[in-house]
Amino acid sequence: MNRDREKMVTFTNGWSIDLDRVPTFTLDAFEWAILDAVDQGKRVVALFGVPTGQPEVTTLYVILAQDQENYLNAARTQIEGDRFPSLTPRCPQVHLFEREIAEQFGLVPGGHPWLKPVRSHRSWTGRDAWDRSPDQPILPGVSDFYRLGGDVHEVAVGPVHAGIIEPGHFRFQCHGEQVFHLEIALGYQHRGVEQAMRGGPHPRSIHYAETLAGDSTVAHATSYCQVIESLSHCQKTARAQTLRGVSLELERLANHVGDLGALANDVGFLPTASFCGRIRGDILNMTALLCGSRFGRGMIRPGGVGFDVDQARVTALLRQLDAAEKDAAVAVDLLWETPSVMSRFEGIGPLPRQVALDLGIVGPAARASGLSRDVRQDQPCGVFRFAHIPVSVYDTGDVFARAYIRWLEILQSMRFIRENLRAIPAGACQVPVGPLTPNGLVVALNEGWRGEVCHVAITDETGRFARYKIVDPSFHNWSALAYALRDQQISDFPLCNKSFNLSYCGHDL
């Protein structure tokens, strides 16, 4: 059962390889390779289609991660015609990848238990996996939903929600307050980024990366820049890598602090809600001090970072960090010490460890369910190869665990930022990048605040992107939210939702 290790190409995060080195398996061997790998504890990082010159042939690529030994595997296979056997019944973590392949390429994964569109758009090939005619409108959220019937009633929410948040449609199967099943229909934010990346890099590419998910600007821009640097064999300086690491951790800090405030708000505990909302703003302003933008726009650039720091700026950042840390500790400790908050956090929206494993969940949601899974430790790149951040893990998988993990990570990130700002290596902050290697493949993973941000690029014979695959952590994790709602009260949905705080635009691309 060790076929994959002999045959799949092995490489590491952020290192490009010649496309020739990725072996082409028969469809049967490809599927077994994935199943064996997952049996051995590997994860499916990405599974995606690539168009070939011939319309009836599609290439499927899989990227797998071996987290204990810190390497990646890749393999590919050719699909002729419009079908391939679904792996989902035997390997649930590929369920959404297969639906995505069905939607983008019009290939039917035969035997998929719930084959619905992912983002509601026309296929890239003219083939349609659902045999819809070209003049039939494709509307998001308009499809069959899983129904229990009988006394079980449906509650539909969205796409326009009550708060200032992104659009998505939620369909609950309820009996009274109790939720039996939640189905989430997305795609409202689909704006065609993956397609637009083809043929790049061009002047807009970095801006697509920065706006894949606005709250994860640094994480996505870092992955994009690693793709460019790796394919152009550019050696960025240690200084640039440190400043990228600091920016990434500031992004995590701001969002985690904001989430703890929002969780407090969702259980009606206003002191922490209002304190954290303001502290989050202070941390965003630290990012603005670095690069002028509260979201890190312009900070991460191919070849390094767009903005350098001098001692005065470092001192100002450290001073602001100290103030934010003190304020956050006071605000957040109130949560753990208030019984009415804890009784609303504990035991709500549990995600068991095995389910998290089966669904391929990433980020704080996975760590709250007992999985020690963190790109910064498992597939380290950039500064994280030299400056380690201990992985915070909790085991109850409930709202409390997802909240508490955030607090532990806030403390770790603050320590990391402080240590690294005090010891920024000398050197240039940005070096020039050259043209990209033709016929190459690179995988760039980063631990964004929501979890693993994955960019895979394949270049053509002229060094342009033939395919640019993006996997936001939300793509893996929306199913976890749906699962966590089972047997919960529908009134706990906002709380459970916020405990995952997933991205719609990152999913919809």
């Binding site: 659009p167 409202y188 801006h207 706006t211 606005g214 002191p271 001090l289 002028g292």
Partner: protein
């Protein structure tokens, strides 16, 4: 209980004095309204236009920047060999007409938004309820609109609130390029808002499509679909820019 009171005392009173007092400080690297020096362009140079990711910069007889398309990335300023284009710290950017966002070489600013017409102003000036519709984009605009509801900014003190239903709203605040998949939802939300109503387009996406300009999966902003009363440019606009726009529209800032 005592801990909560102690925490409250430690956190202090944080609502800013603005607009009665000074505006909160922005970073010295903040990129506000661009400035195009009247002279200095090398003959035939088009470096700025070539560097712009969204086609916001054009060069004919003079340089123009369409702030509605501008991502404030300053790629044009970096490309300019003669420092003709620079980005100032001026956060005031909101206008009432789309064409007012076109900044011409030598022009020192844009005609900032005037207050609503007297009849609408008497209705909305002291109480404006908005329904926010997120229609594509990256959620950064939404995040910085949400910031206005934190204690530091306290938007509610101006009588401006975001409400849960379009039926309770006086208008819509739209973010995102309006993806094809959000068109119907936006139309229905607009129809459900009672007359008279206003529309605010916030961010490069909602004004022009932003980074997604001319994507087949999205419109080029809300302007293509609805009459827009206020344009707040930026990618995303700073909370101060958003607040400035809202306060101008409601007649609270007039300078």
């Amino acid at each position: 209980m005592f801990k909560m009171i102690a925490a409250r005392l430690k956190q202090g009173h944080r609502t800013m004095k603005y607009p009665g007092g000074p505006a909160p400080e922005t970073s010295d690297r903040f990129r506000g309204r661009p400035s195009i020096a009247a002279t200095g362009c090398p003959e035939g140079c088009r470096a700025c236009a070539g560097a712009c990711p969204t086609g916001a910069v054009s060069v004919t007889d003079r340089v123009r920047i369409d702030l509605g398309k501008c991502l404030f990335c300053a790629d044009c300023a970096s490309a300019c060999p003669a420092q003709v284009i620079t980005f100032t710290q001026d956060h005031r950017l909101a206008v009432r007409n789309r064409q007012d966002l076109c900044l011409e070489q030598g022009q020192t600013g844009v005609p900032l938004a005037a207050a609503l017409e007297p009849k609408l102003l008497s209705l909305f000036g002291r109480s404006l309820k908005l329904r926010q519709v997120s229609a594509g984009g990256c959620n950064a605009c939404e995040a910085d609109v949400n910031v206005l509801n934190t204690v530091g900014w306290d938007l509610g003190r101006f009588g401006i609130q975001f409400v849960a239903s379009p039926r309770h709203a006086d208008g819509l605040l739209i973010t995102g390029p309006v993806t094809r998949n959000m068109e119907l939802a936006l139309e229905k939300t607009y129809a459900a808002t009672p007359e008279p109503k206003i529309v605010i387009a916030l961010g490069a996406c909602a004004i022009s499509g932003g980074p997604y300009l001319d994507h087949s999966q999205a419109n080029n902003g809300a302007t293509a679909l609805l009459p827009v009363d206020l344009f707040i440019p930026g990618c995303p606009p700073h909370p101060l820019t958003i607040l400035d726009g809202l306060l101008r529209l409601t007649g609270r800032i007039t300078d």
